[in-house]
């Protein structure tokens, strides 16, 4: 579904955010992306939802290069991708219901569909009784659930979660992760960038590690940390599979 082919991203001032990334992600996978701050996790995700363009190399989505998508068609591409961020990014002057409905409205969803789907999705994430609340009236965990609902409502092919639990307490953190796992079990590909060692270890899913912009590890079922020997061996194995 997603493929990075020799992708590098260099920002002005010769800052190398990503270097020669070669990776493929299949439909339905749950991939944790780990690495220190500044390792390139967010840049990697930005390339997936086309917020940034690679300096060299190509990013493919469903075998179609993202560079071939006309700029005015990018909003249509982004409707295939649900995004969840550490800072929530909810529209502050809209209620929980309106924030989720907005994603459907801009996808030209019909009013009946919106009225039916939005409460349903909010129920699934456990926010059914707080639809009329504004973001400032919700806790961090509740806001993140609304974000998840918004990400889900257009039935995306991929959910990108960039440190979604960074600002949350442990209880809320696990609620969000469980929702992501549930979403993944229904067939949606999930890319989760996280600093949280506990989450990544417990998930025991595919782990990609970035360090200074380079892909240094790709384990089918990995932990947050890994020993040196395992890194290289798994890299080679992964490349052969791709």
């Amino acid at each position: 579904m997603l493929k990075f082919e020799n992708v590098s991203k260099i920002y002005p001032g010769d800052f190398v955010a990503l270097e020669d990334i070669d990776i493929a992600i299949k439909k339905g996978e749950f991939v944790s992306i780990v690495g220190h701050s500044g390792s390139g996790k967010s840049t990697f995700l930005k390339l997936v939802y086309a917020e940034e363009q690679p300096t060299t190399g190509t990013v493919y989505f469903n075998e179609r290069p993202l560079s071939a998508i006309n700029r005015k068609h990018l909003p249509f591409y982004r409707r295939n991708i649900g995004t969840v961020f550490q800072d929530f990014k909810l529209l502050p002057k809209k209620t929980a219901y309106e924030n989720v409905a907005y994603a459907l409205e801009v996808s030209d969803g019909m009013m009946d569909e919106i009225k039916e789907l939005v409460p349903e999705i909010l129920d699934i994430v456990g926010m059914g009784n707080k639809m009329e609340k504004y973001p400032h009236q919700l806790s961090g965990g509740e806001q993140q659930k609304v974000c998840l609902a918004r990400a889900l409502v257009c039935k995306p092919l991929v959910i990108i979660a960039d440190e979604p639990t960074g600002n949350l307490d442990p209880t809320s953190t696990w609620e969000i992760i469980q929702l992501l796992v549930k979403i993944n079990s229904m067939g949606t590909t999930v890319l989760l960038a996280s600093h949280n060692k506990g989450i990544v270890d417990k998930l025991n899913r595919r782990v990609i590690e970035l360090e200074k912009g380079k892909l240094i590890r790709d384990n089918a079922k990995g932990k947050y940390d890994s020993n040196g020997k395992e890194k290289i061996a798994t890299d080679e194995k992964r490349k052969q599979t791709v």
Binding site: K72, T83, K89, K93
Partner: protein, 303 residues
Amino acid sequence: MKLIKLKRTFTEGLDNFYRNGWLSFATVSVLAISLYIISITIVLGVTANIILKNIQDKINVSVYFNSDVEENIILDIKSKLVGYQEIKSIDYVSKDQALEQFKKLGNNNPSILQALDEIGDNPLLSSLVIKAKTPDQYDIITSAIGNSSFAQDISRIDFEENKSAIQRLTSIIKLVEKVGFTLGIVFVFIGIMITFNAIRLTMYAHKQEFEIMRLVGASNIYIRMPFVFEGIFYGVASAFLVMIFLYITSKFLAPITQGSISGGDIVSFYFSNFFIIFGSLLLSGVALGTLSGIIAIRRYLKV
């Protein structure tokens, strides 16, 4: 589908206008102040023009004829002068009419009436009261009359006595027109710049929202149109505000302008041109609000 998009973006714009209470209030205030400056400049300019034209209309030159010149000769001279392109109007005032006017001016003062009785004959002369199209043409007219074939029938022309006053007035009118026009351009420009920058700041305040909208896959229409409608609402609200400000200003200026404008004063001018003023404000406000918004939002629409 286009109708649905229009309806959704309109509702979005209206929601934004209400829910961003203080921001909307600040933007409407700035837009209203700018429109007020522009409209005051224009209204004052127009009013000054009207006042000056009224004064101009009161300027005239009287050509007095010798007492022995027959009325039919004077009327014949009048018909010749009507052909002069510089002359706007000529009125014949007979001796008798001049006497009546003189008595009225003196409020039928018994001493004046008694003095006239003692003189016996009507001492006043017949005249032609001439109005030029512009004040600076009186020189040409009086010069032409002075050198005409009927110059020997003329007793006097009262232009020379009023010449300097007329020339001074002409200079004032020209200066007011020039200064008024320049000031008008400057204030209009300032008003536009103030509004544009205020709306740019408003757009900046929405910066994060644009980012979020792009992330959820909103196309440029869904991002831009609500702010176009918001700009329209700003324009409409400020037009109403400015009409109130203008009414208050005209009430304040009414005593100064009393009698200077035909129909009364500046308040009567306000009401007699109410729909034109309001329509212009509405159009300008909406245009300014919307265009500024469209230009300001462009930098946030990069995908």
